[in-house]
Symmetry: C2
């Protein structure tokens, strides 16, 4: 198993703030995410500008795609995103549409360093059987989180969260984990073999963010080795 | 009961196309929607430009909000949207956050012709009990649709769809209906007392779209009178 990566979610409401935050964080993260807030505020220009500024990073476009999968996936991949988020609540045809766009893009560009991929965001009511069906369709990644609003409401990581992540991992799913990630919580996830990335937003911004990133890396190196 | 309104969903990938389509449709629709595709492509500028061009129309921002409700609702309402869509799959705290932003906006602007409102988009697994809880929290609108991708996959309106809409209506929910709406299908919905609006996209674009709009209005006048 490989070590979990570190991902910054850029969720500012202006492109200016986002590019400044990304510039400060680029040496401390593996993955840069155009967050939902930024994408809704600035559109696909946010993705294409981040792609131009950070050609070596994995770039995620967090649209939480819920419908119109083919159009949105084309837009995001053409703007330069490597991975696109799709809501678990989307119709299976929407997920399949996104997956097909990614597959077609990969087939047309066999030399891509990072293959285009779909990440299912686990919102709403979903089951492990759903996850199995996603795997069968070739989708290998999910994002598990406390919602930002649940986090703000003070809802912490529960035993149920951790058990579900372990079971997703056992199925073979790669899991990115987000929702108020702090260094002191990394140990909670040490039994999740397929932890793909830890995602944080404001916690990774600025000089203090670089220190937090280093602290998270230390914990990752301690538990995944 | 009032007659259902007619709503055009602008889902082009450029603002130029969207404003041209809106201009052609403005005399034949009551509600203009900045669709998800347009919002993701162009950001909130699409909403603010449509607001400037169409000050008398109800303006919907279709973000299918799934998280970060407070920030996204502020962005959408400040850009000029009257109604904001929120995914049924969103955490209750996200829905509550959006609702509070709308309520605060309405309280601060008592003279608004159109009150800021939240519309729950019925994606994923939801129940009538969920709908009751939304009503209890003061959310009065839902959007019921065949997903665009389900529609493309040839999935038609089913008895189950219609029965669910009737039950939502009986609860007191106002229901906007979308997904390949054509004049010949309007009769299917005649028993849905609280039909708030019929939403269509490309079907309402251009000169042919005006004819389609007129044909839908004729059917509305036939069945809701």
């Amino acid at each position: 198993m490989s070590k979990p990566l570190l991902q910054i979610a850029l969720d500012s409401t202006t492109l200016e703030k986002a590019v400044a935050d990304a510039k400060q964080a680029e040496s401390s993260v593996d993955i840069i995410e155009c967050g939902t807030i930024l994408a809704c505020a600035e559109g696909m220009k946010a993705v294409s500008v981040l792609r131009a500024l950070h050609p070596q990073h994995i770039l995620v476009c967090d649209l939480k795609t819920t419908d119109a999968g083919t159009v949105l996936a084309k837009m995001a991949f053409e703007a330069g995103a490597d991975w696109l988020t799709v809501s678990a609540a989307a119709h299976p045809a929407t997920k399949a549409g996104c997956k097909k766009v990614a597959d077609d893009f990969n087939a047309a560009n066999p030399d891509l360093n990072v293959k285009k991929e779909i990440q299912i965001e686990l919102y709403g009511n979903w089951t492990l059987e759903d996850a199995e069906s996603w795997l069968e369709s070739g989708i290998k990644q999910v994002i598990y989180h406390r919602s930002r609003d649940a986090e703000l409401a003070g809802k912490g990581w529960t035993e149920e969260d951790l058990e579900l992540m372990k079971r997703l991992s056992a199925l073979g799913m790669e899991i990115s984990i987000t929702g108020g990630i702090v260094p002191e919580d990394i140990h909670l996830f040490k039994e999740i073999k397929n932890a793909k990335a830890f995602i944080a937003g404001r916690a990774l911004v600025g000089e203090k963010g670089r220190q937090t990133a280093a602290a998270i890396r230390d914990k990752i190196n301690e538990y995944w080795n």
